[in-house]
Assembly symmetry: C2
Homo-oligomer: 391 residues x 2
């Protein structure tokens, strides 16, 4: 119903979760894991469809146990049991959390015993980009309650599962990318010189929600004469001024799936150095789009973009990489970085995010979103204008 | 400039951070801690003022080390160094994260050595409502790099520091509470029977942002004939129908500070059972407000509300507590629960959140926000109407 066209249906059919579980249990068997132990929002949502903003509250832990055979078991606070009961999960154990003396630990240990994992190998995400979302002291208590169990890093399996998206997942990301693309296209009518950056952000956030975004959990940016060095700030009260380069970067969501891209616009007039940097980054992105084919590596993508930037005499920005995976989270594995040899496969959703610094404290970042198809990159964001727009 | 009156200034003066640090170092000395080790957004923001939505990205860890004397040291990804440099923190060590083979660990270990904590007692939050926001495998590597250090739970110290708010903090919460109160007052003009719940939520989110909320990270609720059992869901596409009880619960933010309260309204007509439950919960909240004085305990607050609910023949809801602390996070220590003996002090900001179930799958929850003053509770939310409103 939004301006961005018919929204895809919310949620997923049970068959999709069954297929995810089957893939997971194949990888678990290959890794010799008796169970997966999950505590974080994206992992629990990927396996169950459990979607709530209640994760904002740090008070209560949430647990999902994926056995080597059979359906996942949820161990959740009572406040969330009705929502979990609407997912495809059947075995739900609940307690009246918060209950600090035993916040789900006895229930959880009982599940590991029942599924025969108490003396086995329990995998959980321990590697890069992961956290354990439960109190560290409670994790130690759980380990003490299961002294025979080995807790092992399951990051490689979780990454392999999540990095290739289903067509239903891609449709959700594509929808929020269309909404954000139309929001950016509307920007010239929303902002102008003299408007404080806080109000620029407010106007853009409203525009995205009006156009069908469920939420805008991520909206950062900067405006500074000719270029910026800080790409993650909330807005200041400073009014936009002629000569500013304005960058806004948004991670809006539809049904729990993110877009993540930015746009650069010059206010009043385009600074020559900013326009040159824009041209370089636009062509760096083109090189990334051309390189984003199955069989290419993330490191190769990085090098393709870096080559354009360095051929123009710039040094690449120091944000550590030039794009990343995208989906249930604003940023996901893999990284378009020299150290990431992950090979592209059809169904991977990625951002391309080349950046450069052209003077001390002055830089620029571009970003687009794409899905890897058998024959190359399919853009999900509407391609940024060829030349630095002036508004 | 918003409808809710002049907004308080953004940020805090350096003197406020100096006072926070002084309190922290007194508590550290009492607990025999040589350093605090912090990885999470609210703790790092409380000590530094570092405010960014970039925490949405799970990719990069962020570290703050508070020594037993002298200013905190930030160990942060280069992408965030310019923002951190705008805070009062002077010693900032940055690396080009993500860099999985050494994601800040060498820098971090070096800081602990420099401040003389490598063989000492390092406190970090390990208790209820806390997480360690870094990969578990990296934490194990840090421990291995500092084999002489003892890593201890600093949850009691962190709680004591954060639970009493400064007047500047209270002003920010008060401002977002005013905005949300006015948003709820405008609700009858925004929604009505026939409107899908997704659109009800969209209209209310837009209203809050238009009125001056920076963001609405939390907006949940329910609408069902006469009452609801699920209080944490995103909205369904189901249209509001006459006889529904609609509950919306919002955690909107201003300058990084949350409100957290809800409102109940009947659509078209008030169900008699819903109106009776509303009356009970309104009086339970009154009892909580009367009890919220310095010297009272959180358990006492809980009992005051529970007594009203049980005297009316209901059983209390099973969300584990009836309110909690509020501030940098949607929910904070302490809990208004039978097991929480925390004693109220002036400057504590709390929610009162009595709930009850009056039939299987049908319940109701009320919520207000207050600050404890020397002479009792000062409401921050505008008090809910005395009787169940019908729109």
């Amino acid at each position: 119903m939004s301006a961005a066209g018919e929204a895809p249906p919310r949620g997923f059919p049970t068959a999709e979760f069954e297929a995810r579980l089957e893939r997971a249990q194949r990888l678990m068997a290959a890794a010799g894991l008796d169970a997966l132990f999950l505590t974080t929002e994206p992992e629990i949502r990927w396996f169950t469809g459990f979607l709530t903003l209640f994760w904002q509250s740090p008070t209560r832990p949430w647990f999902l146990v994926v056995p080597r055979a059979g359906k996942p078991v949820a161990v959740v606070p009572e406040i969330g049991a009705p929502v979990m009961a609407r997912t495809w999960i059947e075995d739900i154990r609940a307690w009246p959390a918060p209950q600090p003396e035993d916040d789900g630990l006895s229930l959880l240990a009982g599940v590991f015993r029942e599924i025969g994992a108490a003396g086995g190998r329990i995998g959980l995400p321990m590697g890069p980009e992961t956290t354990l979302r439960m109190p560290l002291a409670d994790f130690e208590r759980l380990r003490a309650a299961l002294p025979e169990a080995a807790f092992l890093d399951a990051t490689p399996a979780i990454r392999a599962l999540r990095r290739v998206k289903s067509e239903r997942e891609i449709a959700k990301t594509a929808h929020i990318c269309r909404i954000a693309s139309e929001g950016f296209a509307a920007l010239p009518g929303l902002v102008g010189a003299g408007m404080p950056l806080t109000e620029v952000f407010r106007a853009f956030r409203l525009e995205l929600i009006r156009r069908g975004a469920d939420d805008v959990p991520y909206l950062v940016g900067a405006a500074a004469p000719g270029g910026y060095d800080d790409v993650i700030s909330p807005p200041s009260e400073r009014p936009l001024a002629s000569g500013d380069l304005l960058m806004m970067d948004t991670g809006a969501t539809f049904d729990g799936y993110f877009c993540d891209f930015d746009r650069n616009v010059a206010i009043g007039r385009a600074d020559a150095a900013a326009a040159r940097a824009y041209d370089t980054l636009w062509r760096a992105t083109e090189a990334g789009l051309a390189a984003a084919r199955p069989g290419q590596s993330c490191a190769g993508l990085f090098r393709a973009m870096q080559a354009v930037i360095e051929a123009d005499g710039y040094r690449a920005g120091n944000v550590g990489r030039m794009g990343h995976g995208l989906g249930l989270q604003l940023t996901e594995h893999p990284s378009n970085a020299a150290w990431d040899g992950t090979v592209l496969e059809p169904g991977m959703v990625l951002t391309l995010e080349p950046g450069l610094a052209f003077a001390p404290g002055r830089g620029q970042v571009h970003e687009e979103n794409l899905v890897v198809r058998a024959d190359g990159a399919e853009l999900l964001s509407r391609r940024a204008p060829r030349e630095l727009p002036v508004i």
